[in-house]
Amino acid sequence: MSIQVKKSLFKKLLTFVPLILLFVSVMNEFDFNYLNYKYFSFNFPFILIYYWSLKRSESLGYGYIFVAGLFNDVTIGFPLGVSGLTYLLICGFAAYLRNITLRPNLINDWMFFLFTILFVTSINYFLLISIFSIEMNYYELMGNIFFTFIFYYIFAYLFDIYLRLVFKGNKNV
């Protein structure tokens, strides 16, 4: 196989990295929970879905996001459809922000992310508590939202670098 073909295959593979990361994170719950710090956990799929839906929506198709939600439900034992709905709502919020933004700005994205995760986690919490009678720890949930919000800034910075390197700044905003 020529070097040229190998290079183009590698480049193609790099474009799938966000999707691979999404499936790995929903099946693995990539949240450093095992460190056992009180209230420390964060929701990596929220960050990933929001960022890529905002900056380059074709990297994560809605269909794949829905399937990732099903996988997440199975992995953590939630009723089917709950995580899918949550993830798709995040996509909707990100798409709305993309439509109304003329000049993208990380701080604006970050603040809107906070609003988004507060809204979708409330929906999630309502569904689990009211419809499925599953008890949840409210403080741990708040901790999860807080750290997800904080970590967004860091991951957005890293994803920005990746986006520039792999897609040469080819964003859809």
């Binding site: 929506s57 269909g63 953590i76 034992g77 089917l80 459809g81 798409a95 109304i100 499925f132």
Partner: protein, 282 residues
Amino acid sequence: MATSRDDFVIAIRSAFLKKGNQQRFSLIALIFFSIALIALSRFNFPAINYLKISLNEIIYRASFVVSIPEQQIQNASIALNKHFKLYKDLEITKKKIKQLEYEKYNSNYLNSENKRLRKLIDEYIIKSDELVAKVLLDKNSPFLKSIIVNKGSKDDVKLGMAVLDDQYLIGKIVEVNYSTSRALLVSDLNSKIPISVEPGNLLSILSGTGKDFGKIQYTQQDFNFQESDIVYTSGSGGIFKSGIPIGKIKIDNNKNIKVKFFSNLSQITFVKLVAFEKEEIK
């Protein structure tokens, strides 16, 4: 005012109804599909249960493979911690062994005496079937504390079986698939186990807190808990046999009563699945 409302509607419509580049489905269609799935899950629609069982079989295995790198990091961090505490642990273990040797002789005598006396009053003893299972996934998420094990209905695993780590109760089976099962840990908020606190034979319910300790619910106000009282299963409700140790009482600085589990629920690799049945003494 009207223009800004129009802009809002256009942006929302475009976000939810329009199919983006290379998107096969519109967002709103998938959202409706999710809502339909949730509604069908709520009413235990048979097709959804079959879908869930099939997904469980595939995803638990895939998830186990995907978790290997993180598991390795976790194991390395635990091993490093253990290494640093080795000398201290050795000293504590030596003391414990001495104490346990003494208790073992005592308990052997009490066991045989207990069996003899039960026979005299014509009572039954409990027969148990054990299965050893490997923990495939340890979902210590902030939402649910559960583990996935590599034994399912093909190995005769049944709903409600007790899950033991060595001799200690750590949970019960809440979902059975063909070759895997999910066990809800005693630390989960949704776990409620009938217990008795000894000495004193206080009957109560042990509830999970989502952390590494449990709390005792529905007790008499005047019961005098002592530090290191032992919490056993009471056998009420017929789910588990009585006398399986779970943890010991710990009273914190604010006089809150907690149950510290005997097992470290974040470091379980193999478990025993046990079903109990009544058996007449011959």
